[in-house]
């Protein structure tokens, strides 16, 4: 009894230490902040009092507020060894590589603890003891992978900083002069993150029951709060580079650190990146599970990794669904901040990269659907949906083709003349947003339908209104498709300023399918009769390649969108404030960019395979479950799927 109380006390102290570490950077930053900003102001005011000299003021380029000039103007760099020291290689490409690898690993180690938190919570809440143990073990396996990746993230962050310092000293000197307190807080938060992560991981077994388990869960929440703050601080730097605020038109800091952090694009980037991290992390973990599945020697291992792959995929795709909304908000804010930047992105130089993005999104959804159909193959009773899959393939293919169709073709002047204009006589009709929105909404609705079929694959509803419910669901989906396609066609017959609003009811239709049909299905499946258990481990090998495809597509997309985000600055280090005068102040060709992205993806996947291998060296044996195939004996995940 006394021992238990001591443990409780120790764990409460540990939790308190984590919260303290989390708050420490803020507490430390406050007096530094005051000293750093008020002193020059106080000095300036004093000067005015003493000598009657005018205090220099500047106007914030974004917030338009007046502030006292505190910092130096943005340096005007010249091409040479002083401002752009270099190796016999394009510095920008070296920085691109270091930055991208750090972002991949950073994204992974931020996403995985969120999964751990969710899965550990599911383990605590599940009433089925065997299933709860499996969830807990799964969460533990996830955090184990994350540990090695965490070290690599830090190493890559160090490489990135050194690359900035050695190859772009002028730019980095300017950025760090403005973000000095933020960078200190960032470093201190790393201390907090490391401390919390190690206590969370190493304390897992000691804190696996009762009150201690709730403390452990609280630690996972704190870990994720710290991780999210880290991401948000880093986002403030790129937000500043794209849409500067808190400085005057010469780039002189006006004393308000909040303005510098809270730029126009900061919050859209925060939301988009956190969702993107989750989708990407889900993809990587699913690929890990796929790799372990393919390498499994026993049925029990295959069953475990099949299940892990499903959960990771489901989480990743769950966060993929709201990701376009966050992306849409980001684009809208870019347009609102600087219309020309928006046009550069989607209507000019970088427009074709968005066609590639559309292709990748289509691949993501096609892979997800394919995986779900394969997964239905290991459920007795799901054969009833088999004959309808070809219609879903048809819908997906049509939606995909419409979604990837460009509006303007890349062509020579001779081709332009032969066509008689900018638009292709046939394809030009399909590349408008009205149609493309219709295409992607059809794809997403089909994915929702595949999920619904998967969730009811091996069950028959026993509610009294089952017949009406089934007919209603079928009619709802059919009407949703008709509405989406109707709105896509309707857009061609109305002016652009009205057409642009049609995307909202289209998306609302898709989301109605998602929320109402998932909800209705859950209600209908209460107390449902099982036609057979899910035979974990019996999924086809092809499905695991679909998971690897999913992860690769996520990784490639992340590289692509990062490239787009960086390129939109064109020849600026800091948009309209600090010009890029290096010899590489031009936009690469799409082909070069694609090769570079592919190289980054390949490098990341080879290195993460090393991380997986390291994780498997000290792997704890997974608790062996009863053989699959015996109805009612195999424990199933919560919600059954």
């Amino acid at each position: 009894m006394g021992l238990v109380t001591k443990k409780n006390l120790f764990s409460i102290l540990a939790l308190g230490a984590m919260i303290g570490l989390l708050l420490l950077p803020i507490i430390m930053a406050l007096p530094l902040h005051a000293a750093g900003e008020e002193t020059p102001v106080a000095d300036a005011v004093k000067k005015e009092g003493d000598q009657g000299e005018k205090v220099e003021k500047g106007r914030d380029v974004y917030y338009k507020t007046e502030g006292i000039v505190v910092g130096a103007p943005a340096p005007k760099t010249t091409d040479g060894p002083k401002d752009y020291p270099r190796y016999n290689f394009e510095s920008r490409v070296l920085l691109w590589f270091a930055n991208q690898q750090h972002l991949y690993y950073g994204s992974f180690v931020l996403a995985v603890p969120i999964f751990c938190m969710v899965i550990e919570f599911m383990g605590v809440m599940t009433k089925d003891k065997a299933l709860a143990k499996r969830y807990d073990q799964l969460a533990y396996d996830f955090i184990k992978i994350s540990l090695t990746a965490y070290s690599l993230t830090a190493i890559l962050g160090g490489i990135l900083i050194f690359t900035f310092l050695t190859l772009y000293p002028a730019f980095f000197g300017y950025l760090s002069s403005i973000f000095r307190p933020v960078m200190h807080i960032y470093a201190l938060l790393f201390v907090a993150e490391s401390g919390t992560l190690y206590i969370y991981y190493y304390g897992w077994d000691k804190m696996k029951e009762g009150f201690l388990k709730w403390i452990h869960l609280s630690m996972s929440v704190i870990l994720n709060v710290i991780g999210t703050l880290l991401m948000m601080l880093a986002n403030s730097w790129i937000g500043f580079m794209m849409s500067p605020a808190g400085v005057d038109e010469q780039g002189r800091f006006l004393g308000n650190i909040w303005h510098v952090i809270h730029t126009a694009l900061w919050n859209p980037l925060n939301v988009h990146r956190i969702l993107g991290n989750m989708a990407f992390g889900g993809g990587v973990v699913a690929a890990y599970a796929a790799y372990r599945f393919l390498a499994s020697k026993t049925d029990e291992d295959r069953a475990h990794y099949d299940w892990m792959g499903y959960i990771a995929m489901a989480l990743g795709v769950a966060f993929l669904i709201p990701l376009p909304f966050a992306g849409y908000w980001l684009m809208r804010e870019v347009y609102a901040y600087r219309q020309q930047m928006g046009i550069t992105l989607m209507g000019g130089l970088l427009a074709w990269l968005f066609i590639i993005q559309a292709t990748m999104i289509g691949i993501l959804f096609l892979s997800t659907n394919y995986y779900l159909w394969q997964a239905m193959g290991r459920m007795r009773g799901a054969e009833k949906y088999q004959r309808y899959i070809k219609y879903l393939v048809f819908l997906l293919a049509c939606g995909f083709l419409v979604f990837i169709t460009p509006h303007t073709m890349v062509m020579s002047p001779a081709e332009l003349k032969a066509m008689g204009g900018q638009q292709h006589p046939v394809l030009g009709n399909y590349g408008v947003m009205s149609a493309k929105n219709g295409g992607i909404n059809v794809i997403i609705t089909t994915t929702v339908l595949s999920f619904v079929w998967y969730m009811r694959g091996n069950r028959v509803s026993t509610v009294s209104w089952a017949k009406f419910g089934n007919i209603f669901m079928g009619v709802f989906f059919a009407c949703a498709y008709i509405n989406i396609i109707w709105l896509a066609i309707y857009g061609y017959y109305i002016p652009a300023n009205v057409r642009v609003g049609l995307s909202v009811p289209q998306v609302a239709t898709t989301l109605s399918c998602l929320f109402f049909m998932f909800g209705l299905n859950s209600v209908m499946m209460r107390g449902a009769k099982q036609t057979g258990p899910i035979e974990w481990g019996k999924i086809s090998v092809r499905s695991q390649y679909a998971l690897i495809m999913l992860a690769t597509a996520f990784t490639w997309m992340m590289g692509l969108m990062g490239y787009i985000r960086s390129s939109v600055r064109l020849f600026w280090h800091v948009n309209e404030i600090m010009r890029d005068n290096s010899p590489w102040a031009y936009t690469h060709t799409v082909g070069f960019a694609a090769n570079m992205i592919s190289f980054n993806v390949l490098f990341f996947w080879i290195s993460i395979l090393f991380v997986f291998w390291l994780g498997s060296l000290a792997a704890k044996k997974v608790p062996v479950e009863a053989k699959a195939g015996v109805p009612g004996r195999v424990p199933e995940p919560a919600g059954s799927h």
């Binding site: 017949k467 009406f468 007919i471 209603f472 079928g474 009619v475 709802f476 059919a478 009407c479 949703a480 509405n483 709105l487 309707y490 017959y493 109305i494 002016p495 300023n497 009205v498 609003g501 049609l502 909202v504 009811p505 609302a508 239709t509 109605s512």
Partner: protein
């Protein structure tokens, strides 16, 4: 069979009404007229 047809008709009515409402409300929220072409 008759029951299925009845359920189908009820479902169609509900769904058409629902999606028409969605179209109208979400366009109206943006200050746009969903019924633009029909008014012309």
């Amino acid at each position: 069979m008759g029951q299925s047809i009845l359920y189908g008709i009820i479902s169609v009515v509900i769904c058409v009404a629902f999606f028409t409402l969605v179209n109208h409300v979400f366009m109206d929220m943006q200050g746009l007229d969903y019924w633009y072409l029909f008014r012309k």
